[in-house]
Every structure is written in structure tokens, then in C-alpha cells.
Amino acid sequence: MQDKAKSPMSSEFSVVGTRPVRPDGVDKVTGRARFGADLNLSGQLTGAVLRSPHVHARVLKIDVSQALALEGVKAVVTQKDFAPQVNSTTAFGEGTLNLMHMLTNVLAGDKVLFHGHPIAAVAATNAAVAKRALKLIKVDYEVLPHVIDVDEAMALGAPLLFPDMITEGVKPAPTTPSNIAKRIDIVLGDVEAGFKVADVIIERSFKTAPVHQGYIEPHACVATVSEDGQAELWVSTQGHWIVRMLCAKLLGWDINKIKVTAAEIGGGFGGKTVVYLEPLALLLSQKSRRPVKMVMSREDVIRATGPTSGSSMTVKIGATNDGRIVAGEALLKYQAGALPGSPVGPGCMCAFAPYDLPNVKVTGYDVVSNRPKVAAYRAPGAPISEYAVEAVVDELAATLKMDPIEFRLKNVAKQGTKAAYGPKFGPVGMAESLEAAKASAHWRTPLGKNQGRGVAAGFWFNIGGETTVSLVLNEDGTLGLTAGTPDIGGLRASLCMMASEELKVPLEKIRVQIGDTNQLGYNFLTGGSRSTFSSGMATVEAARDIKKEAVRRAAKLWELPEEAVEWDSGSGSVRPAGPNAGKHTPMTLVDIARIAGKTGGPIVGYSRLNAHGAAPSFACHIADVEVDPETGKASIVRYTAIQDAGRAIHPSYVEGQYQGGVAQGIGWALNEEYIYGTDGKLQNAGFLDYRIPVASDLPMLDTIIIEVPNPTHPYGVRGVGETCIIPPLAAISNAMSMATGVRFAELPMSPPKVLAALDKARAANTAKM
């Protein structure tokens, strides 16, 4: 059951809102598409990484001489081979950037900070030799005490990862170091005053485990650096301009020396927005003067690339008896991993964003511990804090004996709402999503035995940013479209559709590609749900540029002033603007292409912009869950995701984003977690025991696309890729509470934990009787 996109303005579009086959589709169903590990170059070496066997240790000495002496080993690198970096943090995309930390994450320096932390890299003639070489690198360690849990890491006397770390954001600055990198405060109104007028106040504490993005394609790249220092890098990434910038800075090279080509990317979800192997491959290639290919194992992906934060949180919300929330307060402690930079900032900003509240106070802590450094994961930080808030909102509705959707509608964020994190919302679709949920058949369907139904809201900002697109009018009137944001789930289809819509050129006449870093101006990465929004905006602008140029060329041919020629959007041709302009046969783009040479040369539409006006996407999800009372195992029996897309350019891929986000959220809620032993080592670095949902775990995932157009995008697009991972956590938790009568406050709700909670409740009930 998939509701068609409901578009009040759909009549104005002929291509937007339809479901054509994606232009890169055939390559992907035939095995032809080339992903990160699919390129092989002549003379290519295999790179491999030596990783720390210890959780926390001082590195006393690294001796690579025996490895270098092994036949077939062509290069070895350690942190000393990189350019020195400064320890300072700057804002960057959806997070922050500190190059000293990034280098330390790529290769450890004087300390290893987590099990699996890279310490050296080799390039050898094949994988077997590389593996032998790693064993010949001798590292002397002095093992240090470690800390894994976020609350333990914050405790006095915890082992310190950085003896000089003074918490930022606290005034006056603390005088003693700690594992708390940063404190964030967000305040709106006066929560104390708010709680004073509340009739009901609920305060609960929550814990969530770190979860991995779980892309199926491991990190992979091929680097080749010539004798004159010109480097090419082929890489699976969400942002090749970012990779270029980071590699240039870490290596101390000029940016023009590095050309980066984005391979087809086998999933990223935020995890492929930073560098791990890329600088190593470049450096190994520079040293060996041979192409170097590096591919991570699944084990290394899980134990040493970004999961997102685990957390410890307390949320307190007060409401009046008539269902009005009067105050919301949250304390959020997020694990950053071994280096600062958790997404606690956006976690704080998003926590209460679905609601129009007078009084909000959120305090966030960014905490380091001996785990892999987190990376962005789909709406970084937001699923965690919104889970806690939505669980308390649900309990509050139940306490007030109000319908959970009505309660949310009563407090809903709408146009004009001032969000706690600053801005006033423009037109947003939170209320529309809740209303659609209420009106859905799902909401009214009776539940079976041991089943419960939960709802939850979700909010994510979405971002814009720097973008360049070129659109070439070929000699025969067909078009070549080049964008710079890697296509992770159907972008090329959407961009082609927007160009086709704008120019009235059939889809099959437009060939689209993701350009390399030398083919376009700067592009920020595919992330923040920005690629269809930003590259879409630029594509429409580039198409309009073509139209303008077509008008100019016709005017020149017809010897008319430009004002006397116009673009007819109905037919997709240029024509005289009125009867006074004389009789000229309208010209299509095919005709214009034919006269391009004699009217001024090649015609290229171009757009370079910093896309402003990204608009948030709100969602409401409904989950039906059945809980086996004897084993604590939860099964998702029905699911509906309702979300505002602004406008669905290709509804199938919008639905696909919703469904994918839901599946990841289900995994987060039920089974995914990083499991550590007391030795601080990760025990489940593989798809066997890092349990992402499999096909038989899930039902069909229903979707309802709401379209409240974003006024700043020519076609009304909002980002859709991230909000959808937020509501499942609380929707499932709320459904399980309904099914069992027990409130859960920890993720994942894995069977042993659920059964223990059920048994505890049953024992308490028996004791009462």
C-alpha cells in the first residue's frame, strides 16, 4: 500500500512527480557500475593498515625496518610522514573539523585511543605480502587504563584520553582536565517558571547504544601520484571536494595537485563524509610511485569507522491538564568516541523542535572515551535526543489520558513557531503529517494480542551549501548534465527530471554524470539531505541559463533585440515575443544547438551558488509491534512513515528514503549496538553479531508523502533523507510500552533486556497482589 504523492500543484508539472527508470539503473542491475573497490590500475599495489591491539596505550616506538625490508613491500607510512597539524576546531557542514584530530584518527601519534586505531600503513605487491609486512612492524606500547561508558568517562577519576582537555563552553573555564570536550546550552524562555504552572511533570532517564551506518560497501579507494606530484584519487565518498580538501591539508599539498573522482558509492548514510584510507593511499602512492588500492574489511569498518554516538540522557517535560506543554528540559551526554566531535549540538537543537514550546532548556555534553571516533549518521544526533523526548511526550499523553496524536497536535510546531535553537519556522508540515497519521487506515486498524501501536514525531533541519552544476547543450540538441554531489540513492534521476521539466526536453535526451573535482567548481558533500535540494536548485538555474542563452541566440539570428524574443515554456522553444517582432518560426533547443556555432559558439548552462533556504522536514510515524511475552522478542507487524517532502521529484526514491530510514531506525531500536567486553574490545565487529535488519525481519513499510512546498526552492524541494530515521526509535518504544504495559528507557530493546524488564514488572505485580 503506497499512497501516491499528494501534490496540490501537480498539474503544473509533466515530469516532476512521475516515476521514470533512473538513468544509472541499467549499470547497477548488470554489474557494470563501478564502485570504490571496482577499479584496478596498471602496476597497482595493495595497501593495508596496522591497527592497535590495545584500547588505550602510549606508543613508545614504531620500528618499520623489518617490514620495509620484506620483498614486495614498496612503502610504509606512519604519522610522522604527514604534515604537522594545528589543534583547533572550526565549524564544518553538519559538524566541526579539527585537523589535528582528523590526522590522529587516520593514523595514531603518540597514543592509541581505541581498539583498532590505525598506527601504520604499508603498500605491497599483493595482499598476502602486505599482511606479512604488517606483522613485521614492531610497536612498543605502554598500556593505559581505558574507559568505554559515557557516564563513567564523565566521572571524577576516569582515565583521561587527553591530559590537557579543558571543557569548552563552560564559564569560568574548569581548571582541571576531563573527558568532557564541550558543553552546549540552549535556552528559550524560563523552564523553572514553566514547570511551576505544570499540572503533570514527567522526568525519565535514557541510554542508547552507538550504532553503525552499516553501508554494505566498505571504504575503498585507489590513489596514484606521479613523479611530478600530480595525484588522482578514485574513492567511494559522499563528498569528493571534501576528500580533496582534507587530503591536501593533511598532506600539506596544494589542492590543485589532487583530482578526486567519486566512484559509485555503495551507501554512506553520513559515514563516508570524512577520510580514513584516502590520505594513506595517496602518501603510499607518492612514496612508491605506484597506484595503491586500499579496501577496508568489514571488521575494520565496524571497529574503526564512525558509528554514531551512544548516549545517556534525562528528559523532563511538564504539561497542563488541558494538554499544553509548558516546559521541556533535557540533559544530553553524547559519546564522541576517542576524539571530540559528537553530534550533541544538533541533538540539542532538534530535541524539542517538533513542538511550539514557550520554555525549553537543553544542556549537552560532548564526551570522549576509548571507542572509535563517531561520524555523521543520518540526521546526526537527532534520533537520540528526539527518541528520549518522544518517549516522555508519549507517557505524558497517556498520563493525561489524551490521544498521542491529539496531544502532539495541540503542541505542534507550525509556521511562525520560534524554535528553541533560534529560527522561526516558515511553512512546515508537522501538523499535516500528524493529521495524515490520524486519518490513515493504519491508525484505525484494531491490534492483535500482545501488540501495541506507537507514534512519534521527527524533525531535521536540512542544509544547503555550495554547489556547482553545468549543463551542456550538445550539437544535436541533447544535453549533458554534470553535478558534483555524489548520487547515493537516485539523485541523477531527480536532477534529470528537473532539467527535463524546465526545458521540456525528454529525459532520454539528457545524460547525467557526477563530475570530478576538476570538472566543476566546489561542491559541498551529499549530506544534510542537501543534494536534491542544492544540486536541484543549481540544475534548474543552469537550465534557465540555457533558456536565456537560447533566447539570445535566436535574437541574434533573427536580428531582434533580446526583449523581442521569449522562451515558450509550453512547447520548450524560443519564439518572437509578440506580433511586432515579426514572423519567425519558433526554434527548439535542437534548432538552437544547430546555430550555436554561428551565433557565438558553444552553449553551456552553468550555476554556482550557495544554496540558502533549506527547509526542515517533519515526520510522524506509526509502528505496530508484537512482543513475545515469554522471550521479550519484538516484531514489527505494521509500519507507516508519513513525512513532508516539500515536493517529491521522483516519488519512488522519496518513498525509498522513508523506508530505508525506517529500517535503520528499527535496527537501532531493537538490535543494533556496539558490544564491549570488560577489556574494552569490541566483540561484534561483523554483520553476524552487529545485527542490522534482514528482509524477513520487516513487513512492507508504508509511506505517505506530504507536500508542503519549500518556498525557497524553485520546485518546492525539502530534503527527505534524514528525518525518516528519527521517529522509529520512539514509535517502537512507545508501541512496546502499549503492548506490554512496561516503559522502556534503553536502546536497543534487545530480547534479554526486554524479558528482564517484563519479568521485573511481573514480579512487582505479583508482589502487589
Binding site: 539503473g25 542491475v29 557494470r32 584496478n40 554494505i216 548514510f269
Partner: protein
């Protein structure tokens, strides 16, 4: 020690190769034969991205040695389409938007083809359990299951 000399048939073509004992069929396909349509997602048999058929039996090529392919008939994603004509599963995956990033897609297609050859009219549950060894992180499986069911229907009606 000397490499093994292996003679196989891949997608109908006789293919010979040399390999070390340690090399898996997946290593051979990707690194020696440059047949990179078969993907490596985990190398432990947990993700199904490397699915191929061996004498018409669906297997993970990461869990089979190259030397074990001697005398066998191997089927990979590169052999699914015939000439210009996509296999109905390939066509339905495109029409249903059953792929996002596409890296798991070859494995899903090879596995689905093996299913439909065994069971031309699978239920949704049968499709889901048959494909449980093929991980997809992008789609939530909804559109994949629909595409397989639709392809089965089309093949039956052909």
C-alpha cells in the same frame, strides 16, 4: 607452492585460471577475471553481496575457494541479461526503484533468480526468508520484495 590450475564455465564461457589455495572464488572473479559485478561486503558470508551460482546452487563466492570451482558451472550477475534484453528481475528492479546505492543489487538479483528457478510463485514470506542472507541498508527491502514478486508474476504469465 605452485598455483592450482582451474577450469570452469562462467556464464556459459569456458574460463581457466590459476589460483593459490587461499584465494576465494570471489577473489578470483574480481581480481583476476575483472568481473567486478560480484561485490564484497563482508567476506564472511553474512551479507550476500557476493552471491553467485555454482552448478545452479546459490552460494556466497567469498565462502568458496577458487580451486573448488574446478569443473563447475558458475553464474554471476554479468550473465543475467541476454543480449540487449534484461532479465525480468533486472527490469522489475528498475521499474520498482528497488535499488538506491545499488551495491547489494547484483547479489539480490542472483539470489532472486535462484529463488524463482526453484519456486516460480513464492509468497512474500518465502521471498523474505530466501533473501534474508542478502543485506540491503538503503531500501528497507520493501521495493525489492515487490520487484521480485512482480518479476515472478511476469515470468509466470510469459
Amino acid at each position: 607452492m605452485a598455483k592450482h590450475h582451474v577450469q570452469t564455465t562462467i556464464n556459459g564461457d569456458p574460463i581457466e585460471f590459476l589460483c593459490d589455495t587461499e584465494e576465494t572464488l570471489l577473489d578470483v572473479l574480481r581480481n583476476q577475471l575483472n568481473m567486478t559485478g560480484t561485490k564484497e561486503g563482508c567476506s564472511t558470508g553474512d551479507c550476500g553481496a557476493c552471491s553467485v551460482t555454482v552448478d545452479n546452487r546459490l552460494v556466497c563466492s567469498c565462502l568458496m575457494l577458487g580451486v573448488e570451482a574446478n569443473g563447475k558451472k558458475i553464474g554471476t550477475i554479468e550473465g543475467l541479461a541476454s543480449g540487449d534484453k534484461l532479465h525480468p528481475l533486472q527490469q522489475k528492479f528498475l521499474e520498482h526503484a528497488a535499488l538506491q546505492c545499488g551495491v547489494c543489487t547484483p547479489g539480490f538479483l542472483v539470489a532472486s533468480k535462484a529463488l524463482l528457478e526453484k519456486n516460480s510463485n513464492p509468497t512474500e514470506t518465502e521471498v523474505r526468508y530466501w533473501l534474508a542472507g542478502n543485506l540491503c541498508r538503503c531500501t528497507g527491502y520493501d521495493k525489492i520484495v515487490r520487484a521480485v514478486m512482480d518479476a515472478a508474476h511476469e515470468i509466470r504469465s510469459a
